[in-house]
Amino acid sequence: MNYHIQTDENTLHIHFQGRLQFEDHKEFKKLIHETIPKMKQRQIVFNLSKMDFIDSSGIGMILLAHETAKEHDKTFHLASAQGQVKRVLELTRISDLIATYNKTP
């Protein structure tokens, strides 16, 4: 799992690259717990355009980020999923719960 963070006035963007899977859980948890409680923006967007693989644990981690954002009154979105990641998001019906955009909102 690789990522970089970009911010503007209203939004904190986390741009992911590569894979998000079970073995990334420690790093992901650290990222979420160090970022969301401290952010000043009102919304957080996970940009998934460069993520090329996700497993069911990765989906669990996204749900974890979503709940953490909710606890801190932040809006949480997913954006730009492609290929396998887009398919897994569709199969798991994640958009029933989390706003999911084809492009960065």
Partner: protein, 229 residues
């Protein structure tokens, strides 16, 4: 004919060689119309080097296809592995191996609460597995089988199994029936791995009290050689 891969004539990738160095049990079994490749790997290897879970499949498939290509009876045509099939193989393999390690051999379970803390507790339990735990000595048994009609992967763990008919029935209700995931009665954090396996293979068979999952993909008919027309 049973051939230990260490002695097989095809070149070995470095990762596969490492698995062999670790005294894992990797065998290829030839028959006229099929190739079986079986690997027994201790949980500890996969626990200590989790990145191998993602590397292992491509190496095993490569070895299987190399073997099919060099099949001495020549009655088995080597299939094309499409991008879609490759993606399906990968997600199913990762989910099944993770289930075998986490829920099977390590015996880690979730409560019925299915919430964020339950998910975090599971991750915490996983991180706290003692390096001398007997559970890490249990094996994950992986078998790939290629025939002219299909490719299958079977993953077997040495855990105590689970009530899979009940889980499958609930999953069916949540993902195919009328209950929506994330609703009051639907799943939130759990059950998604099996659901993904079910969605990404042509047939999923769970047996041995839930300790074995076999995933099967139908292969397209091989194209006839041009000179036969």
């Amino acid at each position: 004919m049973k051939t230990n891969l260490i002695q097989a004539c095809m070149p070995l990738s470095s990762n596969i060689s490492n698995f062999c160095d670790w005294h894992t049990n990797l065998n290829i079994n030839d028959a006229d119309d099929r190739v079986d490749l079986n690997l027994k790997i201790p949980t500890k290897r996969l626990y200590d080097a989790p990145e191998w879970r993602e590397n292992l499949l491509s190496h095993l498939v490569k070895e299987l296809l190399n073997h099919a290509q060099n099949h001495k009876y020549k009655s088995l045509k080597c299939p094309e592995i499409s991008k879609e099939l490759k993606e399906n193989l990968e997600i199913c393999f990762i989910e099944a191996v993770n289930n075998a390690i986490i829920h099977g051999n390590l015996g880690l379970t979730r409560s019925l609460k299915d919430n964020k803390n339950d998910f975090l507790n599971l991750l915490e339990q996983y991180n706290q597995v003692n390096s001398s735990s007997q559970c890490l000595q249990k094996h994950v048994d992986i078998t790939l089988t290629l025939t002219q009609q299909s490719l299958s992967i079977s993953i077997k763990d040495e855990g105590s199994g689970y009530d899979f008919p009940a889980i499958l029935s609930q999953l069916h209700e949540v993902y195919i029936g009328n209950i929506k995931p994330f609703s009051k009665d639907g799943y939130k954090y759990k059950g998604r791995g099996l659901m993904l396996i079910n969605a990404c293979c042509d047939d999923m068979i769970i047996s041995n009290h839930g300790t074995t999952v076999k995933m099967l993909w139908d292969l397209p008919e091989p194209q006839q050689d041009k000179d036969q027309h």
